[in-house]
Symmetry: C2
Subunit: 197 residues, 2 copies
């Protein structure tokens, strides 16, 4: 999907950009919760950091480690659901969509390189730690300090980017009166309607 | 499951109680994200308010409306996943478990009555609004004011309580060094181990 100038953005994207601006003083306004479905069919949920939109689409970008459970889960089942609550403006965006994992093997190198370069050294260092979720390793004492390897210009192979492509967005405003808007992507266009909160 | 005094609580429950205390100055510390799986197998995710633990178990209680989509989803598939991030103490609890929906038809009336009584009039009023998620109803103008019916002492039939019974808890502390603990319920006991963050 190619996006046009701001006047042609779907309503939910304009609303979400506005929420990001209105809540930018809150350091946690760029955190959202990403749910996926594990191999046994039960859901998983975790907090992730929003790393911006892909330059030429409405895809929401987050970073991951290919040793993390969510990486395996998403390769098995790409369906995801985001819950993103903005506490200052008291509004919630719920996104249902599909995730594509950009690894060192596929054609999304430019995202990986760009997002890697933007990371702090402390964030980069985590990709050189022992495998996340594995039994505590003696080597994990290194997690308290920055690893030399974190200063590499190129991302390590285990650094991945997850691009969430939205199919529907449910925007609830906890104003008085409350308002709620549902948007849907039919494969060609976005449509939106207001629904009961 | 019957729980004992605080000295016999599993580690995750003590840690979660401590997080609630340490973050209580943050009005949003009692909000978490609840993921479920819809009938088509894809995940859904939304922000809900923690209403406390059930008196005699580790079940986490939230309220719902039986006209809401999550109610239908949970009756179809009870598997849920909670992501609960505490921004002041910088720690996350991820709970995987099963949800039981307490309606007016089953034997959990005491929870329903207790939680209903604790709600504000504004929160009660929402249960008398038009069906959530349905196309905007002209009647929904009443959402801006409190409905007379909200002052009833007994909960309306559409007021439900969701009790999430945890099976595993993943506790990540974003301290320096980061620490991460996984707890698991085997049907009789909780076990816990520290894992790589």
């Amino acid at each position: 999907m190619t996006i046009g100038d701001s006047s042609t953005l779907p309503a939910w994207r304009r609303d979400l950009e506005r929420a990001l601006k209105r809540n930018r003083g809150d350091a946690h306004s760029r955190y959202f919760q990403l749910a996926s479905v594990s191999a046994d069919g039960s859901p998983r949920n975790r907090t992730v950091v929003f790393r911006g939109f892909a330059p030429d689409s409405h895809d929401l970008l987050v970073i991951s480690d290919d040793r993390a459970a969510k990486h395996t889960e998403l390769l098995h089942n790409s369906a995801v659901a985001i819950a993103w609550y903005f506490s200052r403006s008291r509004e919630q965006f719920r996104v249902v969509g599909n995730a594509v994992v950009a690894t060192c093997d596929n054609d999304t190198q430019r995202w990986r390189q760009r997002l890697w370069s933007a990371l702090s050294d402390a964030a980069k260092a985590q990709f050189f730690w022992p495998a996340p979720g594995a039994p505590l390793s003696s080597a994990s004492q290194s997690t308290s300090s920055h690893d030399q390897g974190s200063h590499t210009a190129a991302p390590p192979d285990n650094f991945t980017v997850i691009a969430v492509s939205p199919v529907s967005v449910d925007h609830l405003q906890l104003t008085n009166p409350q308002r709620r808007f549902k948007s849907h992507w039919d494969g060609e266009h976005w449509s939106a309607c207001e629904v009961n909160p």
